[in-house]
Amino acid sequence: MSDEKIIIQVDPDLEELIPGFLENRNADIAKLRSFLDDKDFINIQSIGHSTKGVGGGYGFDLMSELGAEIESAAKESDADKIRETINQLDDYLRRIEIEYA
């Protein structure tokens, strides 16, 4: 995994919402890992679905794509794919840097 920052340009009107939004996504990562340990694919699918639905609206397009992948893998009960995508999402969240423009 790279440490290179990923610059995301976000609408300044959303500035107040972004910290809470990202906090929730980090909390999702913890939940996803926990659900994966329990092989609870229903809840994983639900979080993937939500992540897909909300990411792009805030300006995080890749987040929506990864959410869709998690949702799809959960439907297939594909634990390896889910783990790999959760790691990608985690990495993405750690590297993003917001520019309000």
């Binding site: 609408d11 009107d13 959303l14 919402l17 809470g20 939004f21 929730n24 679905h49 939500s50 897909k52 639905g53 909300v54 990411g55 792009g56 609206g57 805030y58 397009d61 929506s64």
Partner: protein
Amino acid sequence: MTIKKSEPSVKVLIVDDDNDVLNLLENWLTTEKFDVKRALSGLEALNLVGIYKPDLVVTDLYMEGMDGMALLTELHNDDPLLPVIMLSGQAQIPDAIKAMHLGTSAFLTKPINQNEFLETVKRVTPSLINKSILGECTKNIIYKSKEMSDIIEMASLVADNDVSVFISGATGTGKEVIAKAIHEASSRRNHRFIAVNCGAIPEQLLESELFGHEKGAFTGANVKHEGLFQAANGGTILLDEIGDMPLALQVKLLRVLQDFEVRPVGSTKTYPIDVRLISATHKNLEEAVEKREFREDLYYRLKVVPLEIPNLAKRTDDIPPLTEHFLANYAKNNKQDYKKFSPDAMKYLVSMPWPGNVRQLMNVIDLCATLSKNKTIPLSLVRKAVHDDPIHIQTLKESKQAFERGYLLSVLRITHGHVANAAKIAGRNRTEFYKLLNQYNIEPASFRDKKHTEKEVN
């Protein structure tokens, strides 16, 4: 009349079980000046609907408990016309089809795009667009009262439909201002708005003014004249004081409204017209119908959407902002410092009956601003101004002069500034006619170049 208010916001209820989605939608909508309430479930939304009375509901499709489809069904049981936008994380066509069958106004898939979302919100609720346009057009309209807010709301709803609007209200309440705002908020706004005062023009001239005439149609009609209905083609015509329209002309107007065509005086040809008609009066037309002074069939044709503008005394909330507005205008027009009323003077203004309505209020404020030597206008001066200008009813002389001036303008318009012809119509010799024109400072040449003007016919 002048009105202004922070425009009544359009109310949107957003429903999603994800707070981050609600945050995002709320942010987008409030930035666009929508009023937003949020619900985390279908049930919470249903409980809120009765209290909040939203203009639009935006709901997620998949939610725990009551989902978007069930919510839509419940909402439409109560109000089948309430627009609902359904959001779904799945682009599944059967869901979209089912939602559309159930009466969803639009179906959007997540992730949601801001522009697409806001455009959809505006598209599915036509009144939203009208409201924003109307808000733009009513920048000079000042109001704060619920009564006027309701009038503006209704005006915005009908603005873009071609239905006939009938505005009633006492003199000075601002009927023409509302008519103009409706025109400006309609898709006809790029065409003309022509206001005609039916009470100020003699019967024979009124017919010619409205429908036009052919060359030689009557004495003095030496050139063909295009009527105001044709001049307003594509736009809006306001027939003010419609209650004063002679019965014979009422029949002709009814025919125009039925056939959408006009036949100029002395012509065998008819011309198609595409004009939105707004009528206004201070009279009680129902009484006029009972007395057979006004045709019942025409009355119902005109009164598809009635808007009744209340007297100023019935909407006292409007008096303080109107007062401030008129004072600011006075200061600007006269390049003076802004004056204000003392608190007891303002209280007095609010408590007055204002039989002459907004026009009278404006006159009194102008008079106070002129007479006051101080920046704060005292109660004593307001009392005096109101007493000096109790209703501002015109004197008989003023009224005669206003009529005479309007008459002269009409004949000059019809004869395209030809003084000899105008004098013939008026039954005066040329010298006398010129004297009258001088007396009212009317320049006949100004009627010669322009084919027609769109200024108000008084």
